[in-house]
């Protein structure tokens, strides 16, 4: 499923433009521990987290994630957004909780199969 479709279906906020509109989401990853993301998330995964500081951008870039989806209405500051933009990392947002967002994303991905 394309990232743009998920953004549309869930009415997600765009903290940065979508860096690769044609990108397909390979799966979902939920979690707030950066070291675990590095060891377990797969390229193309959509990362659902409450973390929204600069390290999040670096981790997303290194792991090759399709985007970072920041939950609970948290908002990355301008510096973080800029860093994401220049690194080609897409930052999305939702006011819903991590549990709900994971539920909805999985629902969308499952419907595709």
């Amino acid at each position: 499923m394309k990232l743009t479709e998920i953004v549309g279906q869930l009415s997600l906020d765009l903290f940065t433009p979508i860096s690769d509109p044609g990108a397909a989401v390979t799966g979902g990853y939920s979690g707030d521990l950066l070291s675990h993301v590095l060891s377990s998330a797969l390229p193309g995964n959509l990362w659902i987290t409450i973390q929204h500081h600069a390290n999040v951008v670096a981790v997303a870039q290194v792991t090759g994630l399709s985007a970072v989806l920041i939950v609970d209405g948290k908002r990355p500051n301008d510096g973080v957004r800029e860093q994401a933009r220049s690194s080609g990392v897409t930052l999305l947002g939702s006011t819903e909780s991590a549990f709900e967002v994971a539920g909805r994303v999985r629902e969308l991905l499952a419907a595709q199969r």
Binding site: D32, L33, S35, I50, K74
Partner: protein, 147 residues
């Protein structure tokens, strides 16, 4: 109730607060206030562990109308209290964030859960926070149903 909290003692972090909450429940404090007191104590306890130079004390007093929680340390002191109170602002060291702490919500959570909140701090001398939690008459007044 008074507890001595040791700096860096993550292993026991939260144990004083859990005891405080269960003790408050045991002596008949309403669930809503006991829970808030537990949360306030927990955040204060973790702050003492993560940030204080030499630990500090966490004490709780039960009054007819309120529960009062106080946390005190002797250093390092907070340079900019307003900044420290801002949700998301954190000076937590890596060993704390690796364990899932230090997201910068502590003082804000303490204030949110208190009816009265005071904080004093001086660099080199230490920090004291004092929280008043008004007791509720009906133990279930702020809950729907429950068991």
């Amino acid at each position: 109730m008074k507890y001595r909290i040791r700096a860096g003692d993550i292993e026991h972090g939260g144990s004083a607060s859990a005891k405080i909450k269960s003790e408050l429940t045991r002596v008949g404090i309403d669930e809503f206030t006991a829970r808030r007191a537990g949360i306030v104590s927990f955040e204060a306890e973790m702050n003492l562990i993560v940030y204080s130079d030499s630990g500090g004390t966490l004490s709780v007093r039960v009054e007819p109308d309120a529960v009062v929680v106080e946390a005190r340390d002797k250093g390092p002191g907070i340079e900019d209290i307003d900044l420290a109170m801002t949700p998301g602002y954190s000076t937590a060291p890596e060993w704390a964030t690796d364990l899932g702490f230090g997201a910068g919500m502590g003082l804000a959570n303490i204030k949110k859960n208190s009816d009265g909140f005071e904080i004093e701090s001086r660099i080199g001398e230490g920090t004291t926070i004092r929280c008043r939690l008004d007791r509720r008459e009906n133990p279930r007044i702020d809950h729907q149903g429950g068991s």
